[in-house]
């Protein structure tokens, strides 16, 4: 079961902090992060990569990005 992080309406570093907290909690090997701006999308992807997680999917809905990351 993938963990969900809803970081919509939040600006950095909050989306990154929330994502890293979930990675650290290690309760899931897949995390779905929702953000609503391009800068947060870039930052979440960069942070996930730096922790050895890979970006599985990024889908766009309206002005929102749904990023799926998985432990490599």
């Amino acid at each position: 079961m993938a963990k969900r992080v809803d970081a919509r309406g939040l600006s950095c570093p909050q989306p990154v902090l929330m994502t890293l907290n979930e990675i650290k909690a290690a309760q899931a090997d897949e995390i779905v992060v929702m953000v609503d701006n391009e800068a947060s999308r870039e930052n979440v992807c960069r942070a996930a990569n730096s922790k050895g997680w890979s970006i599985v999917d990024i889908s766009t809905k309206d002005d929102e990005y749904i990023i799926t990351i998985r432990e490599s």
Partner: protein, 364 residues
């Protein structure tokens, strides 16, 4: 477009942007801007506050086209890449207060983080104290961030709201064109001008505006942020934004050397004082306020250009803060800190700590 997007988000993108700023800021000094002040967001917003009479410090009154350019460069980039997203509602009054105190701290040091970098690159040793204070302030801010500090979520809003700060900037440009400087006159129409001091030193309007537009465009693309550079390194050991900030300092140093603007030393530096403790403490207050507000003063302008109404409120807080600083004798001068500067820094730190400790509600 997609490729261009990725270039700027990558390591060479941010380094390239830092280098571009590092080239143009010292050149703006060569072309007329004050010493080690090619670009200073705090100083320039303070000059704008003076030009429209929010304070009456006669030596710092000029509508700086660079600031207008920053906002419109970012706006153009945001529209071009479909990133203009009008939003607001994330604790605006708190952001206003943070903007006020960020400016008060910056004017005790005499510069924002951008100018601290340019002062260092120009050989001003006092900048070391300022940068150390900036790091200390941002570090305190990261402790709050780790503890759950946040300003809450913003909400999408009308395009009109996102356009408010760009329109304010357009109004300033219109005033500058309608009432240009007249040699030897301290006032034209509604605008105040400086006859001497840093406010009387400026590059030609088209040059300032063009450089501002270019930097605004590039910085929106790359998310360039001087506070974020330090914050991300402290929080995540991430060097992405830091590499841009360091590239700015290194490039500005080389350009200063090339054009004969590097003058190492502590005393006699342009628009600077040598009270080390207050250079440190002023910038510490600023760094903490920027960290709690989520961006350096430049980044706040670029965010405002993307339609972020909360960042716009922070900008207005800084402009009002400049008025308060000079009207109340809080701002420093080359002679040293102002008569009430020290009390203001202490007050500002207490206000920031209060905000940091109390706004820790979990995000729903």
């Amino acid at each position: 477009m997609k490729g261009l997007k990725n270039i700027f988000a990558g390591p060479w993108g941010i380094i390239g942007v830092g280098m571009a700023i590092g080239v143009f800021a010292p050149l703006l000094q060569k072309w007329g801007n004050p010493g080690n002040m090619g670009v200073c967001v705090a100083c320039f917003e303070r000059d704008i506050a003076g030009a429209i009479g929010l304070h009456r410090a006669e030596v710092v009154q000029y509508i700086r086209p660079e600031i207008i350019g920053f906002v419109f460069g970012s706006l153009a980039s945001a529209y071009l890449f479909r990133e203009f997203r009008p939003r607001l509602g994330s604790a605006p009054i708190v952001r206003f207060a943070l903007g006020v105190f960020a400016m008060i701290g910056a004017l005790v040091f005499l510069g924002c983080p951008w100018r601290a970098a340019l002062r260092l690159a120009g050989g001003d040793g006092n900048a070391i104290l300022g940068l150390a204070g900036l790091v200390a302030g941002v570090w305190i801010g990261t402790l709050f961030l780790r503890g759950g500090y946040n300003l809450g979520r913003s909400q999408p809003t009308h395009h009109t709201a996102g356009w408010m700060l760009p329109l304010f900037m357009a109004g300033l440009l219109a005033l500058l064109l309608a009432f240009p400087a007249i040699p030897g006159e301290a006032k034209n129409g509604v605008l105040f001008y400086s006859l001497k001091g840093p406010g009387a030193m400026y590059a030609p309007l088209p040059v300032s505006l063009a450089v501002g537009l270019l930097i605004g465009f590039l910085a929106q693309r790359s998310r360039f942020c001087t506070m974020g550079a330090i914050r991300d390194f402290v929080l995540f050991r991430q060097m992405h934004l830091m590499s841009g900030f360091l590239a700015l300092i290194a490039t500005a140093f080389l350009v200063n050397m090339a054009v004969g603007q590097f003058h190492p030393g502590f005393s006699g530096q342009p628009v600077a004082h040598t009270q080390h403790l207050w250079n440190f403490a002023g910038m510490m207050l600023s760094g903490l306020a920027f960290c709690l507000a989520g961006g350096c003063p430049g980044r706040q302008l670029f965010l405002a250009g993307e339609g972020d109404g909360d960042a716009a409120i922070f900008v207005m807080g800084m402009i009002v803060g400049a008025g308060i600083s000079h009207n109340f004798g809080l701002a420093s001068s080359p002679a040293g800190v102002g008569p009430y500067g020290i009390q203001a820094v202490v007050t500002g730190l207490l206000v920031c700590l209060f905000i940091g400790f109390t706004m820790r509600k979990r995000i729903g």
